[in-house]
């Protein structure tokens, strides 16, 4: 039994090492991908490439942040890409009906909040499994977008706004969506790692029962997480619409898997309670850089998908396999 200062410091370092292990592996992978890119194409690491990488990853990366918080609590949101599609469709439909663009954008955000609230209430209040609920709303929201918009493609958004989808922030090589992602990442990181709320998320993920007994309002927190996720996805939908300067009902179809994969590749445990925002940011950087490298090598997009998909699968299997086995065993032991 010791309570000495030295031990505490030593303990702190040990904990840090434990937490950082996956993240440091990601740093190495990132460097590896950068070297790979530089070998394949001369002058790979230039600011313009950084800009395009950010532009490509923007919406997916932004949606990964609230999803990280949801996965930390042991839940999931598979409706993110459909939410993105629906809010883009709402924005396009209203704009084509003559609404001012700002009002159309605001309406899209409101739709995001409502869509998220539906997920949240069904998961937290009604108590349905989030995977089932959000697979349901994945189809539902995409279906609504289809009814709303198909077969039209809405264009003609004000050039002043669509500009920001394709040019960097003046004086830099940073895409607007990259800046939004980084700002949101900082906010999400602080919430997750330094506030009582973030600690609550971790506890909910590790041991929901204990969270309740510690006075953590589990249901309320979960509902709000889904609402925030809905709003952020709507925001991503707006960004995507502006970037493409057009929107059709199927915008972003299938992106949910990329978003989930980003989060898990970032070292966030699918069982909840473990993970860092730093990991998710690194995961975004790695995937973005890899895709950029493959694009410059003129690799077919289909092959790109296979490469990045394979990489994701491997990296999701490695950190989660040991834990999965342990959990399954625990659960078996706890049965009856």
């Amino acid at each position: 039994m010791t309570t000495g200062h030295n031990d505490a410091a030593k303990g702190g370092r040990a904990l840090w090492r434990g937490l950082v292990r996956w993240e440091s592996a990601l740093v190495i992978v990132l460097i590896g991908v950068m070297i790979f890119g530089s070998i394949q194409t001369p002058n790979f690491l230039n600011p313009t490439n950084f800009f395009y990488t950010g532009l490509n990853m923007g919406e997916v990366a932004i949606m990964a942040l609230p999803l990280t918080l949801i996965i930390m609590t042991g839940e999931i949101d598979l409706s993110v890409a459909s939410m993105l599609g629906l809010s883009g469709a709402v924005m396009g439909e209203l704009f084509s009906n003559g609404w001012p663009i700002w009002l159309a954008i605001a309406a899209a955000l409101v739709v995001g909040a409502i869509g998220g609230a539906i997920n949240g209430v069904l998961v937290a209040k009604v108590g349905l499994p989030s995977i089932a609920v959000t697979i349901g709303t994945l189809t539902l929201y995409r279906g609504l977008a289809l009814i709303l918009l198909a077969p039209r493609t809405i264009t003609g958004f004000p050039a002043s706004l669509t500009q920001i989808g394709v040019v960097p922030i003046p004086g830099t090589e940073v895409a607007y969506s990259t800046a939004v992602f980084l700002a949101l990442a900082v906010v999400t990181g602080i919430i997750l790692h330094a506030t009582p709320l973030g600690r609550g998320l971790v506890v909910i993920g590790l041991q929901p029962e204990a969270a309740k007994f510690a006075g953590i309002r589990v249901n309320r927190i979960k509902i709000w997480l889904y609402v925030v996720s809905g709003i952020v996805c709507a925001f991503a939908g707006i960004l995507l619409t502006l970037k493409n300067a057009s929107v059709s009902y199927d915008a972003g179809t299938g992106l949910e898997l990329n978003v989930v994969a980003l989060v898990l590749f970032g070292g966030v445990s699918i069982f909840g309670g473990r993970g860092t925002i730093v990991g998710v940011v690194l995961s975004v950087a790695i995937l973005g850089t890899l895709q950029q490298a493959l694009t410059q090598m003129n690799v077919q997009p289909e092959v790109q998908n296979i490469v990045s998909g394979g990489l994701l699968l491997i990296s999701v299997v490695i950190p989660n396999s040991g834990e999965a086995i342990r959990r399954i065993r625990d659960r078996a032991r706890r049965r009856v």
């Binding site: 039994m1 010791t2 309570t3 031990d7 505490a8 030593k10 303990g11 702190g12 040990a14 904990l15 602080i190 330094a194 506030t195 009582p196 600690r199 971790v202 506890v203 590790l206 041991q207 029962e209 204990a210 969270a211 309740k212 007994f213 510690a214 006075g215 309002r217 309670g273 078996a332 032991r333 706890r334 049965r335 009856v336």
Partner: protein
């Protein structure tokens, strides 16, 4: 026969030169504090761990277990505190898992299987329907199924690791009956328990372990409970139930007509400053449920809960906490602690608001708070950042206590304060409670251990089937009267 068994983990000798004999037809109690090495020894017997030194002899033949299957084949069966049955299979299927009697065409012969299971139950003297599914069986019945399974393997050595921890008194009696039957059939039983009275009641021989060594083995008639405790802790224990009776102050908790339909009904009582009120009764009488409803984990159907005269909103633990209520729940591992989180974060978990500035948790304050309470409660740990799962049961309980005491509550609800923790820490927890109460804390204690209830409580309320059936003062309460009220028998007529 266990001879000179040793097992070390890294530099820690968990078990060191332990030897004792197990005789056929005899129940042998293995006693010791948490961390004394009992569980390690059990795992060696079960074949989960290999011994580093020494060995096991069965009928004089040295045996080496290369795994649980080998141990089982040699006739050793281990029954754990929490049995592991397949919930969706029938009782008989669980018993004959992997070696079901077959009919033509390799189909399972259900009739034969159920018949054989019934035979085994008959030998044990219990009644259980072999065809029912395991899901929903009480812990006690699950243990019976495990015992039946062991018996069907012709186990000659039956190891029971704290089988009674989750049982009611009636169930414990039935278990002892089963053990007796097993003995008459010539089995050797190794019985591990924290409840010393049980060892004396059901065993013929006792071995006491401390710090990984076997201190003493003796026939049970030759030792007293005091001897055993002395050998277990290594010194005299001043008092397991230190109790200071003081004049209680104003009412802190006032519960009126509290009802949760189907669970408990019309519960009214109060708890005052400076007193411990115990809720006694059988497991399932609704005691923990009352506590949960007061704290707001479950919603009440009707009735009121007032703390310091102000009514608590329904189903809102956070409001109860702000009103000064703390709940140390029944299930430490699921409800009280986040097992995979560090000690300091667990201690700080209920005080995060106070430890934050500008909405950010101050790590240093968090660490300080944990250090303060670890010191005050004499927590034994190696590092603050270790997960609580590395601590012994008693120390885990101290972490839960620290977490709530750090909030300076005026009412502490404590559900099974010393379940599954060793004698030494038990006395410590009692001393802490006593100290807090003399300082003016109001305590509502739920306990299934009658000595604890009688030793610590100022007043005893007895619940039976969701209703308060009796109230005793400290002076009135005795084992007999409380048990009668708990089981619904009429009070004994005074002679």
């Amino acid at each position: 026969m266990i001879r000179d068994v040793s097992k070390s983990f890294g530099a820690v000798m968990a078990v060191q030169g332990v030897s004792f004999p197990l005789y056929a037809g005899e129940a042998h109690a293995l006693l010791g504090e948490n961390g004394a090495g009992k569980s390690t020894l059990v795992k060696i017997l079960a074949g989960v761990y290999g011994a580093d030194g020494g060995g096991l002899l069965i009928d004089g033949e040295p045996v080496a277990f290369k795994g649980p299957a080998a141990s089982r084949a040699a006739g050793v069966s281990v029954i754990y505190q929490e049995p592991t049955l397949f919930p969706d299979l029938s009782v008989a299927e669980n018993i004959f898992m992997g070696r079901q009697p077959l009919r033509v065409g390799r189909r399972i012969d259900r009739a034969a299987m159920n018949r054989e299971a019934t035979d085994v139950f008959k030998r044990l003297g219990v009644e259980l329907d072999p065809a029912r599914v395991a899901r929903g069986l009480s812990v006690a019945d699950q243990q019976i199924v495990e015992i039946a399974k062991a018996l069907s393997f012709n186990a000659r050595v039956l190891v029971m690791d704290e089988p009674t921890a989750a049982l009611t008194n009636v169930e414990v009696d039935r278990l002892f009956e089963v053990i007796r039957t097993l003995r008459t059939h010539g089995a050797a039983v190794l019985f591990i328990s924290h409840r010393l009275e049980e060892a004396f009641e059901s065993c013929q021989r006792v071995t006491i372990m401390r710090d990984g060594r076997s201190i003493r083995t003796a026939p049970i008639e030759e030792v007293t409970i005091d001897d055993v405790i002395r050998s277990m802790v290594g010194h005299d224990l001043d008092n397991l139930f230190p109790k200071t009776v003081i004049e209680p102050g104003e009412v802190v908790l006032e519960v009126e007509h509290l009802t949760r339909v189907g669970v408990f009904d019309d519960i009214s009582f109060n708890v005052r400053r400076g007193e411990i009120v115990a809720l006694a009764g059988l497991v399932g009488a609704g005691r923990s449920e009352v506590a949960r409803a007061i704290f707001g984990i479950d919603k009440r159907t009707s009735g009121t809960v007032q703390v310091h005269g102000a009514e608590l909103p329904n189903g809102n633990p956070l409001a109860a906490m702000s009103a000064g209520v703390a709940l140390v729940p029944e299930d430490r591992r699921q409800q009280g602690l986040v097992m995979d989180m560090s000690i300091d974060r667990n201690v700080a978990l209920a005080s995060l608001g106070r430890l934050s500035r500008f909405g950010l948790i101050r790590r240093s304050s968090e660490r300080d708070l944990a250090t303060t309470w670890a010191g005050r409660l004499q927590l034994k740990f190696s590092r603050m950042v270790d997960t609580v799962s590395t601590l012994s049961g008693g120390n885990q309980q101290k972490v839960v206590l620290g977490k709530w005491l750090a909030r300076k509550p005026s009412l502490l609800i404590i559900d099974e304060p010393t379940r599954g923790i060793d004698v030494g820490t038990k006395a410590e927890v009692h001393r802490i409670l006593d100290e807090l109460v003399t300082q003016g804390l109001a305590v509502l204690m739920i306990s299934s251990e009658l000595p604890e209830v009688l030793g610590m409580a100022d007043r005893v309320l007895v619940l039976r089937e969701g209703r308060i059936t009796a109230e005793f003062t400290r002076a009135q309460a005795d084992e007999d009267s409380v048990m009668r009220a708990a089981t619904g028998q009429p009070p004994a007529v005074a002679a």
